[in-house]
Amino acid sequence: MSTTGSELVRLDASAMAAALRSGEVSSVELTQAHLDRIAEVDGPVESGVHAFLHVDGEGALARARELDAARSRGEELHELAGVPVAVKDVMVTRGMPSTAGSRMLEGWVPPYDATVVEQMRAAGLVTLGKTNMDEFAMGSSTEHSAFGPTRNPWAADRIPGGSGGGSAAALAAFEAPLATGTDTGGSIRQPAAVTGTVGVKPTYGGVSRYGLIALASSLDQGGPCARTVLDTALLHEVMGGHDPRDSTSLTDPVPAVVAAAREGARGDLTGVRVGVVREMGRAGHDEGYQAGVLQRFEEALDHLRSAGAEVVEVGCPNVEHALGAYYLILPSEASSNLARYDGMRYGLRVLPADVDPAEVTAEQVMAATRAKGFGPEAKRRIVLGTYALSSGYYDAYYGSAQKIRTLVQRDFAAAFEQVDVLVSPTAPTTAFRLGEKLDDPLAMYRGDVATIPANLAGIPGMSLPVGLAPEDGLPVGLQLLAPAREDARLYRVGAALEARLHAQWGGKLLDRVPAWTPASTTGAPA
């Protein structure tokens, strides 16, 4: 083997797959190179990247050996067979801890696999371990993980986004070439934006939710994360498809996203109509948007024009109310979904200190368990949801929020009459500092302003890197949105834009990520 382990881990997943097929590298070598990289940068918890909550080195190598043996026997394998993947800890894995970033599930080992985990296993992807996340996917920074935050590989004092900050950081730190995410209000797209990686929230129902620990069921959507548009498409095709165990699963075939990414990579967007959403960062609607984010976004629009796309501005006035509607609908659904953590059948059980154990009631145990097991953000949202659903407020809050949902859907439907895809900055700013917004929930929520509307409407969205903001040198993401079931459009336009940006940069944005410098452990945020 001529390639060293540190070079191997920087390859695209598609290049790794090609090297496996040609016999240039074995899955064991590739898996070991990633385990070495994880050992090098991921710990300790106080100062490392801390992208992983659990690493299964032994299991990964055993699986890699099986795949190498199958390949040497000449068995027909999936294109990605032997390539490692990092799995967000919200996806349950049989025999492997699955905590969703919560003390409530610390030490819980699920008795079954999520459908996406089964699909990835069937395709021969090698699971390296489980990635860090905000508790039950509530947050935009991974600081709400009960097990300590993940750090941004671009700068150790910055957040990696959330809730899927662990998956995005694992990609940007070359600890894994592929990773999974779930996106309820931007938890795939915003971490991708702030780490210089690619992430896609498929059409609602496009990826099975079976075995994905529920946050807000009408918004939750699993999806792929990677370092390039093509790699993201390859993983999307593995994860997608109808699942009879998820009653909201689409029965359509998986969209041809790999073909779309390959077509887009030729860089020609002649005839494609691109709509810039006025209410997401355009003049008059740019409060809170960082200048460098808007600058790189404008430059990306120029690339789209030079690829032949027609770029126009479109209005979606109700997206301005999406944030408010989301923070009523999400807590309402979450307060119901999280009622299952009651300390009775699995997970944490806490006996109240001041009650005789012989006399204690189930209700007292529940209240003590939930006080100890949930962190501050989970409690905030559960209580807020309980309020929004309580009689007297239900119509005014939850009812109105559901009507806003209709209005947002109508806005998108009208916009897609005029254009093929919509674009905006993914997040209004680059990665903020750890601790900066931790006790200011509203400031944290406002960072989701551009990603939330897609979840309310169920439409697919992608974030891809479009450069570094001049003022802080940190990655900027562009968001693409398409009509429901038209996920392939994201890949076609995304790959075309990526090809032009790579030509401009002379490589990928992640080629410029600095060598990892651990965080200073003195004065680090608590």
């Binding site: 609602y204 997970g347 944490l348 209240a367 939930r370 109105s400 209709t406 929930p441 509203l442």
Partner: protein
């Protein structure tokens, strides 16, 4: 917009079955007041949209049209009792063991 008084937050926390000390209730009351104040604009936005169109806006509970889904009533492989109980805080005789759920007078 009404502030959420601490007593109301305490009531909500009780409904949600979360023990919460006084200091936590005070802090949460302050934060929830700010959040509710910010999200309550949805009510006015809906009222304006309905006044402009002269028609009520229907509520959407789900992003895509859904049909109920059933499967044939056939036996399939499920978790064994041992699997289901493996992560239980306490179990006994192939059952979950839980604290007392009924009062003395029940």
């Amino acid at each position: 917009m009404p502030a959420l008084p601490r007593e109301e937050v305490a009531h909500l926390a009780r409904l949600a079955r979360i023990d919460m000390p006084d200091a936590e209730l005070d802090h949460l009351a302050e934060q929830l007041t700010a959040i509710v104040d910010a999200v309550a604009s949805v009510t006015g936005a809906v009222a304006r949209a309905e006044a402009e169109s002269g028609r009520p806006v229907p509520a959407t509970s789900h992003p895509l049209p859904l049909r109920n889904v059933t499967r044939p009533d056939v036996v399939v492989r499920t978790l064994t009792a041992a699997d289901a109980l493996a992560a239980a805080p306490e179990s006994e005789d192939d059952k979950f063991r839980v604290p007392r759920i009924l009062g003395e007078d029940a």
